[in-house]
């Protein structure tokens, strides 16, 4: 067990390092002068003295590899730097934004899970028609673009019915629409996966033997099949988290909700390297942690995996 933890931790560290490297060189490829970006963006056309001063201050005049090493060392110390555009400490900014996005994504994941579970179990119960309807709903849900769903929700619940606020207000009510918008397409995906695994599991040998032993249908479902069917969906949570962060960009913009997604869009456009690096690292870290957690759950839940 310890060996497993250590190896995963090393793997995680590697991923973070690689992400930081990728961002560092990737952003350098974007056309434009990074010194200009620091001074306010491509159009700032600051004086040559100002640009030169910035280059010295930020070490931009040194060879690329030297800059890279320096940047890596800074990251190791936990120094995420100062945002070029917002002129504030990136770590502090991310702290504020992170909780907001985290709340949104975690809630969405939970809600998506709940929907998927309901859909999957209900569908397998209803025979062929139930399966078709369930399957259809899942496929449609997964095919809906976030921004369209958001528009429809605002149109229906805010403009027409006046039940919910159209923009994210502090407090639970302001979270309802953003969470639903993110959760529904994900629920579609998860539902599809779960339903198949559930169908598989319901006809597997250990379930047959449970039925043969005389267990009730509900007992069979809940005690054996669901646990087994949930495994693939759990291991998908890592991927799901990453996809939710992508979705958060649109949802946060449409519902005017502060968060990593909204800031990311802006930061990439204006080449705000510290900000982009910060957001990328945070999401990569979150992804890695979630993956490790789900793998751990996998191992605990499925004894077969421990043998590996």
């Amino acid at each position: 067990m310890v060996r497993w933890i250590v190896s995963r931790a090393l793997g995680a560290a590697f991923v973070l390092w690689a992400v930081a490297t990728l961002i560092f060189f990737g952003l350098r490829l974007i056309p434009g002068d990074p010194a200009e970006a620091i001074l306010g963006g491509p159009g700032s056309q600051a004086s040559d003295e100002a640009l030169q001063k910035v280059r010295l201050d930020y070490g931009l005049d040194q060879p690329l590899l030297v800059q890279y090493v320096q940047a890596m060392f800074r990251l190791l110390r936990g120094d995420l730097g100062t945002s070029y555009a917002l002129k504030a400490d990136v770590a502090a900014l991310l702290g504020e934004l992170f909780w907001s996005t985290l709340t949104l994504t975690v809630l969405s994941l939970v809600v998506a899970w709940a929907f998927a579970l309901v859909l999957a179990t209900w569908a397998t119960r209803g025979g062929r028609l139930g399966r078709m309807v369930g399957s259809g709903m899942e496929i449609v849900a997964a095919a809906v673009p976030h921004f369209w769903l958001a528009s429809l929700f605002i149109l229906l619940f805010s403009t027409a019915l006046r039940w919910l606020p159209p923009i994210s207000t502090p407090g639970p009510l302001g979270l309802v629409l953003p969470v639903l918008t993110l959760a529904i397409p994900l629920a579609g995906f998860l539902g599809q996966v779960m339903r198949e695994s559930l169908a598989d599991a319901l006809e597997s040998p250990f379930v047959l033997s449970a039925r043969a032993r005389g267990e009730s249908e509900t007992g069979v479902r809940w005690r054996h099949a669901i646990r087994h069917a949930a495994l693939p969906a759990i291991s998908l949570s890592g991927w799901a988290f990453g996809s939710l962060i992508s979705g958060a960009v649109v949802v946060e913009t449409v519902f005017a909700r502060p968060g990593l997604g909204r800031s990311l869009l802006n930061a990439v456009t204006i080449r705000d390297v510290p900000m982009v690096t910060g957001v990328a690292l945070v999401s990569a870290l979150a992804f890695v942690l979630v993956t490790i957690a789900t793998d751990a759950v996998d191992r605990i839940a499925d004894p077969r995996l421990r043998a590996r």
Partner: protein
Amino acid sequence: MSLPETDLAQPGLASRPTATRPGARVTVGEVVAIGVLALLALAAIVPGLFTSVDPLAISPTEAFQSPNTAHWFGTDESGRDVFARTIHGARSSLLIGVAATAIGMALALILGVMGGIGAKPLDYTVTRVGEVLFALPGLLLALIFIAIVGPGMMTATVAVGISTAPGYARIIRSQIRAVRTAPFVEAATVLGRSRFFTLRRHILPNALAPIFVLATLGVGQAIVWASSLSYLGLGAVPPAAEWGAMLSAGRSYISNAWWLTVFPGIFIVLAAGAATALGRSMQARTRQVER
């Protein structure tokens, strides 16, 4: 953004006997999905069959008409016929979906094969690279790529392709690894076949069989993500009739011209949904074959 691994890549799960034979009855769902895709493909190739109106022709005096007999889907803010634009939009949207998936698959094949048949170190490296790309939010990869190269439909297509590649690569790699240890491959080696021969005749065809299914599933997602990029202003440029761009423009008028939002959105869902449905049913069939 990339496709999640489905249990397609997890061989060895409980197998069960099945009563159905491969090539069994076509289900209603499949018929509907194929029908929808065929209609959309037809719209993409020969839009003239469905509408003779120019999707780019403006007529400001006829702006914001709700759906009526002259304009089935109404008109937009410049008086353009929304039905014509939606039909013509099929071409851009489907093309982007197919092209992005093709690009993603191509990249994935390279990475996946390298990881699948390469020696341990190569496999390790490729897997780690894949993990790293996977760990980044797909949209971030696309944004950076677009920032480097500049916005546009081509760029958006490539960007979506690049973001989906890691996911496919993982699946391909694990498929190849799984097939490599299969009995019939062992048999071939024992029989003295060369490695290359084994690779070409046995490993690759079997490992890559699910590609088609994955690609079909992927097209659906690619269409949705490409339209998201257009919505954010990073894809198709006005006045292109692309569904995502149309939704983006229509968003501003949602309270007084709902048809600008509803119809292109329905088509995105139709296209992506049909592709996904088809992919899922093909997946179901191949699984039945495996068993």
